[in-house]
């Protein structure tokens, strides 16, 4: 089953760019990537640019409305994701533990909906 691991953290929380701690933080991601490849669970993943670059789009009464900023104003921002193919939630939790952001932010695991007759 595929799980989307959504990586949330508060702005400014965790190691900051340019500090030695940040290098360790990034090394954590490289280690996670490697572990996912080795376990054969990696189906994709990316880091996202800051929420200040986000645009929200919706259509109301046939008219497209665009808004500056993310959909939900929350303290924790979505910063990136992984798509992982795991045998069950226990394995997915173990994989999520490897994401270094879990130490100061939150990883939300969402199972991908399986549409019958698909693939």
């Amino acid at each position: 089953m595929q799980y989307l691991a959504l990586i949330y953290a508060e702005d400014g929380a965790g190691p900051q760019y340019g500090t030695p701690e940040f290098e360790g933080y990034m090394a954590g991601f490289f280690a996670a990537n490697k572990a996912y490849e080795e376990a054969g669970v990696m189906r994709g993943g990316n880091a996202l640019q800051a929420t200040s670059t986000a645009t929200s789009v919706r259509i109301r009464d046939g008219k497209t409305e665009t808004m500056d900023g993310p959909f939900a104003e929350t303290k924790e921002r979505l910063g990136g994701y992984y798509l992982l193919d795991c045998k069950d939630l226990d394995e997915a939790i173990k994989m999520a533990e490897l994401i270094p952001t879990a130490h100061h932010g939150t990883i939300e695991l969402r199972p991908i909906m399986e549409i019958p007759g698909d693939g």
């Binding site: 089953m1 045998k87 069950d88 939630l89 226990d90 939790i93 695991l109 199972p111 019958p116 007759g117």
Partner: protein, 410 residues
């Protein structure tokens, strides 16, 4: 067999075998809801069938087989997903196997079931409700009443949980050795919370609430059978048995709570005490200490004292220090502070209590302990105020009455 006798017999069978049957069905169906519905169908058919032709030699095997067929019928009727054709084929093969030979012993999958029900991906209250529903066999209505919740909310909570187990693929499996301690702790905590919910129920409340004490003990006994030689499971069982041994002495005729030091010790159940102490001995001899064993040992020291004055508070304090190292929490710190006061270290006890004010602001026993200490110190204003707060926070009439009496003594 006449219908009323048969109904009683069926409910007895369901009480003893429901968890085992349900666990086996969930394993072959991979679906909590379908398993429950199919087992329900089978019990309804049993009532009709057994009235006509008497009790089968193996009622449990009969129920399992009929439930499996009922599940096939339900899947066929639903016909929602093509993919289920495979399930039907597999189930029919299992059914054929079952028919072609003498009914085999039904494998006991309840350990998987309880670990799944207590999975940390579920909310604590949901774990409790799901365990009582699937393993304990309580109805949704009974669980709602036991936790002072409404039926609809409890029903929703249970169906959301079952949907999540299947949709997020929470595994139906006993955890590996590497994960055992953490996951077992989640199971033991759920069982202890069930027991405690019953323990806090007053004598005037619905019997289902105080029945939760027996439910908790029953679950721990089951766990001891399914995973023998685990000292923390034994520790939890000993802890609950030793507490339960004092049940009859906890309330007086007026329904007021009687605290440990003024309880009539002749009302304590000596058979349960002996059993609890023996279980604890067995656990401790395995030399793998854990928080439940330490708590049981504290309970044992209380219950072994001939009189309240004989209580070995030095030893109890040492055990609380141990517990603090194993599983630190504000409540453990509170109990340690009480032990400090009992050995006469009043100043140390008060400063320990004062440090807990923020963490335990809404915890009744904290205010009661603070009040008692202030009273001993001659600090009457603080004592009365703290008793008032404790009375306000208490949810149990017997306890409130006792606290009021204490307040009036100040």
């Amino acid at each position: 067999m006449p219908a009323p006798d048969l109904e009683r017999r069926i409910s007895q069978i369901m009480r003893e075998d429901r968890g085992r049957l349900l666990a086996a069905l969930i394993r072959s169906l991979g679906d909590f809801d379908l398993a429950e519905d199919a087992l329900q169908d089978a019990t309804e058919r049993a009532l009709i069938h057994w009235t006509r032709s008497g009790l089968p030699t193996r009622p449990d095997a009969w129920l399992l087989q009929v439930a499996r067929r009922a599940a096939i019928d339900r899947i066929r009727k639903a016909k929602r997903f093509k993919g289920l054709a495979n399930d039907i084929t597999r189930l029919m093969e299992e059914d054929e196997d079952a028919r072609s030979q003498a009914p085999p012993e039904i494998p006991d999958d309840r350990l998987r079931l309880i670990f799944t029900c207590c999975h940390p991906a579920l909310e604590q209250k949901t774990r409790i409700a799901l365990t009582l529903r699937t393993i304990g066999g309580l109805t949704t209505k009974e669980i709602a009443r036991a936790f002072l919740d409404n039926d609809a909310a409890m029903g929703q909570r249970l169906s959301r949980a079952k949907a999540k187990i299947s949709a997020a693929r929470i595994p139906y499996r006993v955890p590996d050795r590497a994960d055992w301690d953490g996951r077992l702790n989640s199971v033991l905590t759920v069982i202890y919370l069930i027991f405690n919910e019953g323990w806090t129920a007053g004598p005037g409340e619905a019997p289902i609430r105080s029945g939760l004490c027996n439910e908790g003990i029953w679950l721990a006994r089951m766990l001891c059978d399914l995973a023998p030689n685990d000292p923390e499971i034994e520790g939890l069982l000993a802890l609950m048995v030793l507490s339960h041994a004092r049940a009859r002495a906890r309330f007086d005729e007026s329904g007021a709570l009687v605290p440990l030091d003024t309880q009539d010790r002749t009302l304590w159940d000596t058979a349960l005490i002996d059993e609890g102490l023996a279980i604890l001995d067995r656990a401790v001899s395995r030399r793998l200490p854990g928080p439940f064993q330490v708590q049981a040992a504290i309970g044992a020291l209380h219950i072994q004292a001939e009189t309240p004055e004989d209580t070995d508070w030095m030893q109890i304090l040492a055990l609380y220090n141990r517990l603090l190292a194993l599983a630190p929490s504000p409540v453990v710190r509170l109990n340690r502070a009480v032990a400090l006061a009992e050995i006469g270290a009043l100043t140390e006890a008060r400063s320990a209590l004062n440090a807990l004010g923020a963490d335990l602001a809404d915890y009744q026993p904290f205010h009661a302990a603070l009040a008692e200490l202030a009273r001993r110190d001659g600090d009457r204003l603080v004592a009365r105020n703290a008793y008032e707060t404790a009375i306000r926070l208490s949810v149990n009439e017997g306890e409130k009455n006792w606290l009021r009496a204490q307040r009036d003594r100040v």
